[in-house]
């Protein structure tokens, strides 16, 4: 039972994710290089970490989505396995069309790094089952392009299928419908701008993020 952390050229939250998995969740993380064409067979969940990929000079995530490993991640997702994209990972998953919509530059155009209050809108997903419905939680944000966009039809679909998992309590970036995190229609692929791995230890200011990972691990154990 391995948890794959994907590394793209220039990834920088890869170790942060690795440490949380190994030291806080006590599961087995494994780095998977973007040049690989297959995920190791004993991988039970894929995490696309935050930070940057290829410098994100064109559009965040635009180039990473062509990495060789992405094909297998798509198959892995299509088979119903959990895939979590955080920050740049969210951007990559939208660019790869594993999630609807896209992420624009923050409305005020500035990079923003701060502690962020969120509401849990759907606590029934693979990624949120350890939260109470409507619960207010804190996870830091740190992004320049976190302004989620989707058209009205898509937004309606997101609502109909209960795909909006996290919303901002005070919208920091101009995101449509205060969206901070969504899942795909099947509920097994999640993308979110806040960093749960930065809220997984008390000394770093909170553990709400840890519960997000615990949700995934709990589901795995139930299988």
């Amino acid at each position: 039972m391995k948890y794959a952390v994907i590394r793209f050229p220039g990834s920088n939250c890869d170790w942060d994710m690795y440490y949380v998995l190994r030291d806080q969740l006590k599961v087995e993380p494994i780095f998977v290089d973007y040049r690989e064409t297959n995920l190791p067979i004993d991988v039970v969940a894929v995490i696309v970490p935050g930070g940057f990929s290829y410098g994100d000079y064109l559009r965040s995530g635009a180039i990473a989505r062509f990495a060789p490993i992405m094909e297998d991640i798509k198959k892995f997702a299509e088979a119903g396995n959990p895939v979590l994209g955080v920050c740049n990972g969210f951007q990559i998953l939208t660019e790869a069309h594993l999630l609807p919509g896209g992420l624009r530059k923050n409305q005020h155009l500035e990079f923003i790094c701060q502690q962020q209050d969120l509401f849990v809108q759907n606590n029934q997903t693979t990624f949120s089952n350890q939260f109470k419905p409507g619960e207010k939680v804190m996870m830091p944000v740190a992004h320049g392009d976190g302004n989620y966009y989707c058209d009205d039809v898509t937004l309606q679909q997101l609502r109909t299928h209960n795909q909006i998992v996290l919303t901002y309590s005070k919208n920091p970036n101009g995101s449509v419908a205060d969206i901070a995190g969504i899942v795909n229609e099947q509920g097994n692929v999640m993308g979110m701008m806040p960093h749960p791995e930065r809220a997984s230890e008390l000394v770093l200011g909170g553990t709400d993020g840890l519960r997000l990972f615990q949700s995934v691990v709990t589901r795995q154990l139930q299988k």
Partner: protein, 731 residues
């Protein structure tokens, strides 16, 4: 660019344009035994510039203490190294990028960050934090706002992209920085196994490798340019700006760290290409080891066509490193760097003599003794004279505190005091998930993973104090940094510095430099914090107006247990509040003087290093004994501001009664701390420190009573004003 013949260079005095004096040019001739050619003249001009050779500042830097029991590496390498136990060491250095930032703030600041990061990983250390020190003109000017906005964006974007948290810094706003802003960056790294790297190229036949980005005509003469004053005319004729590529740097960094950690057996030396690019890195590596080298310039990766040797050698293109690799291991290096999508090219070999020989198109284009280039630069002790302003009789400023609450509210909104949140929220301060104390407290704290230790770090300088008294001001700069470290639970380990001053040719400026470094040295001895690295930036003048003497001090402290980590904010209602340290009527050079008079003047107040050290010692002991809930050092704005700042974070009010006149609330007497203590620890704390109880925490109000005044402000209201002031003034 036309390559003049040696005779023409001599006749037309081209060397003067490049910053070499008549006497220096004569010395070059003497060393070579002939006239230098075009390329060689360029090499000497760059290597003998103030920026590379420290020819004006060397004698002053000698005053600094640079050794100590934990100091593994002092000045002289990419960065200094201090042992922190358990086989680990902390590595840090500061750099200025003032001139590039003034010209092109975004890229200037970004490449400043990129450069200082390379200094850290060239030592084999993984960069764990960035800090900055920014000095700009007043915020009533649109160009200044643009400069600040772009500088902050440049610092943030580079650090954010490469994945190094920017965790602290400082900012001042003064007229003198209007035409010559300062951007200083500091990088801190962690060395996990104490095997340090040297920037040396030894062993005849060993290979010189160029790794990283291609060379273009960026920032040619940057080092020379950084050693000249600015004026309006020059604005238009600046060489091409350098553009930062943090993605490229991330790849180069990971590759270099991999090489150092996993292939140490084939690596002889490593150095970054900073100021004066290829020539300074290669010549320094050779000279340090006592070896010469042959470099084939045809092999240097080039971004632009038809570059002449002068351009190739002096370009300051970013994200490049130079390696010396044991012969026979070229393939291993090339393959390793390819793994990181980075180019590694063998461009030369080490010679067994000391000749530094450049080849292009099968011709020798330069042939000089490497020691002449690196070690023979002249050193000057300039004339110095004490500026008259320092001896002007002063009556002593008395603030008007008849409306004391208003004064406090106004002070809280002065840009130097107001919250810097609107700046630091643009920096990713949390990447690497080690930031235990985020920006906004006295020092930032980064834990050392897998240990119970943490590192506290801060950058400080109060240029106003230095302007009124460069000697005491220099002492205070170091003391203030130490105070911030101690308030955060740390033990000061050592400092790095950036000496930002005007032109050393001006005897009064040279005096400032002399006195400031003297004061800093004395303070470093007092706190046992040697100077382990640093940087000098002179000629910071605009249209003849010099900046204030601005020696930025970057200090790192060791927090021996996570239990000692302390922040400035009050933690709970009902705690006792103490003032450690004595308060006097010290108003010259203060924030309130500037606010009420529009300028600073007079004699700077007294400062005593021994008192400072004693008070810091008390705080350290109280923290270690577990007696305190918060500690905040007193700085700009004095006591009232420090009390207010302590209430903001958790919005816990306070009720304070002081036996002093209202004006003293704003005195900036040094060596003081505000401490909050749980009531059950009252006796223990008082016995240890003898400090004066001045009030209790609780409620929603900021209530401060003196002999002749009362402040009663709503904490939330005061906080809002303080928090939003800077963003408002930037609009």
């Amino acid at each position: 660019m036309i390559e003049l013949q040696p005779r023409e260079i001599e006749e037309q005095k081209l060397y003067q344009q490049w910053g070499l004096s008549e006497a220096e040019f004569d010395k070059v001739q003497e060393l070579l035994g002939r006239l230098p050619n075009f390329t060689e003249t360029g090499l000497f001009a760059a290597m003998w510039s103030e920026h590379c050779a420290y020819k004006n500042s060397k004698p002053l830097l000698k005053q600094f203490p640079t050794t100590g029991k934990n100091i593994l590496q002092g000045p002289g390498e990419g960065a200094g190294i201090i042992d922190i136990g358990d086989g680990q060491a902390v590595v840090f250095k500061a750099e200025s990028h003032n001139h590039p930032t003034a010209v092109e703030p975004y890229q200037g600041a970004a490449t400043g960050v990129g450069g200082i990061i390379r200094d850290i990983f060239s030592m084999g250390a993984r960069p764990i934090a960035m800090l900055d020190s920014l000095h700009f003109g007043p915020l009533d000017n649109d160009h200044t706002k643009y400069l600040i906005d772009q500088t902050v964006a440049g610092i943030g974007d580079y650090g954010n992209c490469i994945g190094i948290p920017t965790v602290g810094g400082e900012m001042t706003f003064e007229d003198v920085y209007q035409g010559n802003p300062l951007m200083n960056g500091m990088c801190v790294g962690l060395l996990d196994s104490v095997q340090q790297q040297k920037g040396a190229a030894a062993g005849a036949g060993n290979l010189i490798f160029y790794v990283g980005a291609k060379t273009g005509r960026d920032g040619i003469q940057g080092a020379i340019f950084a050693s000249a004053e600015f004026n309006d005319e020059q604005e238009s004729q600046r060489s091409a700006v350098q553009v930062g590529d943090p993605f490229a740097e991330k790849m180069v960094m990971e590759a270099c760290l991999d090489l150092i950690e996993n292939h140490a057996d084939i690596l002889v030396g490593i150095q970054d290409m900073g100021a004066a690019g290829l020539v300074s890195s290669s010549a320094e590596m050779g000279a340090k080891a006592g070896f010469g080298m042959d470099l084939n310039l045809d092999l240097v990766p080039q971004r632009e066509a038809d570059m002449i040797p002068y351009e190739l050698m002096l370009s300051e293109s970013q994200e490049r490193m130079l390696l010396c690799i044991k012969k026979g291991h070229a393939d291993e290096v090339i393959e390793l760097f390819n793994q990181y999508e980075t180019e590694a090219v063998e461009i030369g070999t080490v010679r067994d003599d000391q000749q530094y020989i450049l080849h292009q198109h099968d011709e020798v284009v330069a042939n000089v003794d490497v020691k002449a280039l690196v070690d023979e630069a002249p050193v000057y002790r300039k004339p110095s004279s004490r500026p008259a302003r320092l001896d002007k009789e002063s009556t002593g400023f008395e603030p008007d505190t008849s409306k004391v609450a208003e004064v406090l509210m106004d002070l809280l909104q002065q840009p130097a005091i107001a919250s810097k949140e609107s700046v630091y929220h643009r920096y990713d301060s949390q990447v690497q998930t080690n930031t235990v104390v985020l920006p906004g407290s006295d020092a930032a704290v980064i834990r050392v993973r897998n240990t119970d230790k943490a590192l506290a770090m801060t950058t400080d300088a109060n240029p106003r104090y230095l302007f009124l008294d460069p000697h005491k001001g220099g002492q205070i700069a170091v003391a203030e940094a130490a105070r911030n470290i101690v308030a955060s639970g740390g033990m000061p380990l050592g400092i790095t510095d950036c000496l930002n001053f005007g032109s050393p040719e001006d005897p009064e400026i040279y005096y400032e430099l002399e006195q400031a470094t003297k004061g800093m040295s004395e303070a470093c001895r007092q706190f046992e914090t040697p100077v382990i690295s640093g940087n000098v930036s002179l000629y910071n003048e605009f249209n003849g107006q010099a900046i204030y003497p601005t020696p930025m001090v970057g200090m790192v402290g060791l927090i021996e247990s996570m239990d000692y980590v302390t922040t400035q904010s009050f933690k709970q209602h009902g705690d006792l509040v103490y003032l450690v340290g004595e308060t006097k009527a010290d108003f010259n050079g203060t924030e309130i003087q500037k606010m009420q008079m529009g300028q600073i003047e007079g004699q700077l107040f007294d400062f005593d290093l021994a008192t400072e050290a004693a008070n810091q010692q008390l705080i350290q002991e109280a923290i270690r004994a577990g007696l305190v809930n918060s500690v905040h050092d007193l700085a700009e704005g004095g006591l009232a501001v420090a009390i207010a700042e302590s209430t903001f974070d958790n919005e816990i009010g306070v009720d304070i009664k002081l036996d002093m006149p209202a004006s003293w609330l704003f005195s900036e007497t040094q060596s003081r701390f505000i401490v909050s203590v749980s009531s059950e620890l009252q006796a223990d704390f008082e016995q240890l420190t003898g400090a004066k109880l001045i009030g209790t925490t609780g409620g929603q109000h900021l209530a401060i009573q003196t002999n002749n005044s009362k402040i009663n402000l709503d904490v939330t209201t005061a906080k809002k004003a303080w928090k939003e002031a800077l963003a408002w003034q930037m609009k």
